[in-house]
């Protein structure tokens, strides 16, 4: 039995002791499910549904000469609840209850249940370019104009897709209100949305307008202390400037970031406080929708040139662990982690450390694969022998005397020499377009692209090691090779030889 097996067995034993949630009455929940589904079907397939079908035809296909269609009526379907919010009046379907401001949802389920939401229209267009959606003009009583789009939405194509309808109503004041419907049963959603459209009218005095999702205001970080205190040592990493108190030193003994070389960590002499800077291609690539959505809860502080500054703190075991996601506008992204004692002094130190952060010119440029420097490699010794991993046709040369090893669970292939290992595994996804500046590239025969990263790291057991990784892509496939060996130039040289020997065969 391997260590991996032991660990999994231990996990399974722990999982075996997870008991059913005692408060749940399965029979009652089953009856509730039947009741809810029947109620929905009754609302949608009865007399009201016949009217709804008519509304669909009249509303969506009965285009008037000016291209604007009119709702069939302003009648509220039986069982629906009239509401007024944010300048509009409408009705919500049966079974939906108000939860948060401007939202009516199906019971307590917030994981994808039916939903009606009224909010200020986000800045994003009703139909984003390339979405294939075409907004349809519709007449809403009292409105300057109104348009809607409908689509199916769901990440798992094997499930029925959610129906999503969005209506944007422009008021005389110029405010734009968005009414959204999410209906889990996509087949029913169209009829429900048509009914919903038929109930919408403008009533400018109808309550305040809830803010759109993702635009919640980040609170200023209390106690933020900009500037570099006297005597602190300045540093910079991949375009992010920082400073740490005198006496702090680089700390590479914590295997807390990957890949090796893409982060720097500095810690106090007693180890009670530390600052880690990680360049993050993920943060650099955040779309606006994510970048503008704050962590919850989170705060922010002013940082010249940044378009993302989100800070959150978790406290445990007497340690405050503060994570700051930062991005230079149009440039690189970073994750800065500060660990300090959970005390007033510790919190003040955290804010002082964050106050030293700034960007230099390097932060403005996000490297692509083409921008990376080519990895300098070493000649492949004559004594090395070629071998195949069998993963995506990845072949390599290894020193004589190396042997195949039992790969850890989930790893497809591994080999080991004295104090050195190589593992290979097929990787999900693909290599990102944006890569850490600390990475290198290498032209591996047969691969579309290869990103190499190397540096000192630590094993899962905390032992210092040299870690080199190669991520290779061919088409939609990807494979990751990792080499570990003792820290030092010898391992770096052997890794260089290993990289030079790589090739992907077949197609």
């Amino acid at each position: 039995m391997t260590l991996q097996d032991d660990f999994v067995t231990e996990l399974q034993h722990a999982a075996d002791r997870v008991e059913p949630v005692a408060a749940l009455d399965g029979a009652a929940m089953g009856r509730r499910a039947v009741h809810r589904v029947r109620a929905r079907r009754a609302a949608l397939t009865g007399v009201g549904a016949l009217a709804a079908v008519g509304a669909v035809v009249g509303l969506w296909q009965g285009t008037s000469p000016d291209g604007v269609v009119s709702p069939a009526s302003q009648d509220v379907p039986d069982g629906w609840t009239p509401v007024a919010v944010g300048g509009v009046r409408l009705a919500v379907p049966p079974g939906l209850e108000p939860t948060v401001d401007g939202v009516w949802e199906q019971g307590p389920d917030d994981e994808g249940g039916d939903l009606v939401q009224v909010q200020a229209a986000p800045d994003a267009p009703l139909a984003s370019p390339g979405s294939g959606l075409t907004p349809v003009d519709v007449r809403v009583p009292g409105a300057e104009s109104a348009r809607y789009v409908t689509e199916e939405h769901g990440d798992d194509p094997s499930f029925d897709q959610d129906f999503v309808g969005r209506l944007q109503v422009t008021l005389e004041s110029g405010d734009v209100v968005q009414v959204s419907l999410v209906w889990v049963d996509g087949a029913e959603g169209e009829a429900v949305f048509s009914d919903l459209l038929g109930t919408v009218s403008v009533e400018e005095d109808a309550g305040h307008l809830p803010e759109p999702d993702g635009t919640a205001v980040l609170q200023p970080l209390d106690g933020y202390a900009p500037g570099i205190p006297e005597g602190w040592a300045k540093g910079a990493f991949a375009g992010l400037e920082y400073a740490v108190p005198r006496g702090w030193a680089d700390d590479d003994g914590v295997a807390d970031a990957f890949p090796a070389g893409a982060r720097v960590r500095s810690a106090s002499a007693d180890g009670s406080s530390a600052l880690t800077v990680l360049e993050s291609a993920d943060v650099a690539g955040w779309p606006d929708s994510i970048a503008s959505s704050p962590l919850d809860p989170a705060s922010t502080f002013p940082l010249d040139g940044a378009d993302v500054v989100q800070v959150a703190t978790a406290t445990e075991d007497g340690v405050d662990r503060t994570t700051a996601h930062l991005r230079r506008e149009g440039g690189r992204g970073y994750v800065v982690t500060v660990e300090t004692p959970a005390s007033a002094d510790g919190r003040a130190l955290t804010r002082q450390l964050l106050g030293t952060l700034g960007f230099d010119a390097a932060a403005e440029q996000v490297p692509t694969l083409r921008d990376l420097a080519e990895l300098p490699t070493s000649a492949v010794p004559d004594t090395w022998r070629e071998t195949s991993s069998g993963v995506l046709g990845l072949r390599m040369a290894l020193p004589d005397g190396w042997a195949r090893a039992t790969p850890p669970d989930g790893v497809d292939w591994s080999a080991a020499g004295s104090g050195e290992t190589v593992t290979v595994m097929a990787a999900a996804g693909h290599l990102p377009d944006r890569v850490p500046a600390a990475a290198s590239r290498y032209e591996v025969p047969g691969a579309d692209a290869a990103v190499v990263q190397q540096g000192d790291d630590s094993t899962a057991d905390g032992e210092p090691c040299f870690l080199g990784t190669v991520q290779l892509r061919r088409g939609d496939d990807a494979v990751v090779l990792e080499y570990t060996g003792p820290r030092g130039e010898a391992s770096e040289e052997r890794f260089g030889s290993l990289v030079r020997s790589l090739r992907l065969s077949g197609s």
Binding site: F7, V8, E10, L11, H13, A14, A15, D16, R17, V18, P20, V21, A23, L24, G26, A27, M29, G30, R31, R32, A33, V34, V37, D109, D110, E111, G112, G154, D155, D156, S158, F159, D162, V182, A255, D256, A257, F258, P259, T276, L278, S289, I290, S293, L295, D296, A314, E316, D317, T323, T337, P408, G410, V411, T423, M425, A426, A460, L467, V480
Partner: protein, 199 residues
């Protein structure tokens, strides 16, 4: 049952299709019997995935409703597997949560303090807390593949992902769990996000 009376989670994970034990006169009767029988097992899975009893209850209710909607076509097959799949993929399916999931930094969720030297194995509460720190994709794979002992192919099928994704997500998830729980299950390890590594 195990020695301490708990019902093993793996019990319902066999490849045999779930069969409704008590058949009633109507589809609703048969579905209600199915709900009564399967809710305990479903709730354990939901709890392992969510780490929260209230959310687990919501997930089970969601799964039951979707299963009843599909009852006509799943009753003669494997309704339990259908319901389990609803639960396992609920966070994906719940598109309104996607952005928040993306933003959730696993490092922001750390296990609660545990006394030193009082245990020699991973206890269930620490396991659940550690699971919550995994990205959703890794958590689903770890729960299905390892805790429910599904095969790689079964896990891939249930989550509608490739076997390669099961391997990579499972490997990374286990590595992360090992870090969080400590190699011997007693020592929490540093929790900064680690990307794409296999130890």
């Amino acid at each position: 049952m195990t020695a301490d009376g708990a019902v093993p989670v793996v019990a319902e994970s066999s490849a045999e299709p779930f069969r409704v034990a008590a058949a009633g006169d109507t589809p609703a009767d048969r579905f209600t019997a199915f709900a009564a029988t399967s809710t305990p097992a479903l709730s354990r899975i939901a709890y392992l995935l969510s780490g929260d009893e209230h959310r687990a209850g919501d997930l089970v209710q969601l799964a039951l409703e979707r299963t009843y909607r599909a009852w006509a076509r799943v009753e003669d097959g494997d309704p339990f597997a259908y319901a389990r799949r609803v639960i396992a993929t609920a966070r994906i399916d719940g598109w309104r949560r996607t952005r928040r999931d993306v933003l959730s930094d696993p490092a922001d969720l750390r296990p609660a303090p545990v006394p030193d030297g009082t245990r020699t194995v991973v206890d269930r509460d620490r396991l659940v807390r550690a699971l919550r720190q995994l990205p959703a994709a890794q958590r689903r794979v770890v729960v299905l593949r390892y805790l429910l002992d599904r095969s790689e192919a079964q896990t891939a099928d249930e989550l509608n992902i490739s076997v390669g994704s099961v391997k990579s997500s499972g490997s990374r998830g286990l590595a992360r769990l090992r870090e969080l729980l400590g190699a011997d299950g007693t020592t929490p390890a540093p929790t900064t996000t680690r990307k794409g590594t296999v130890r």
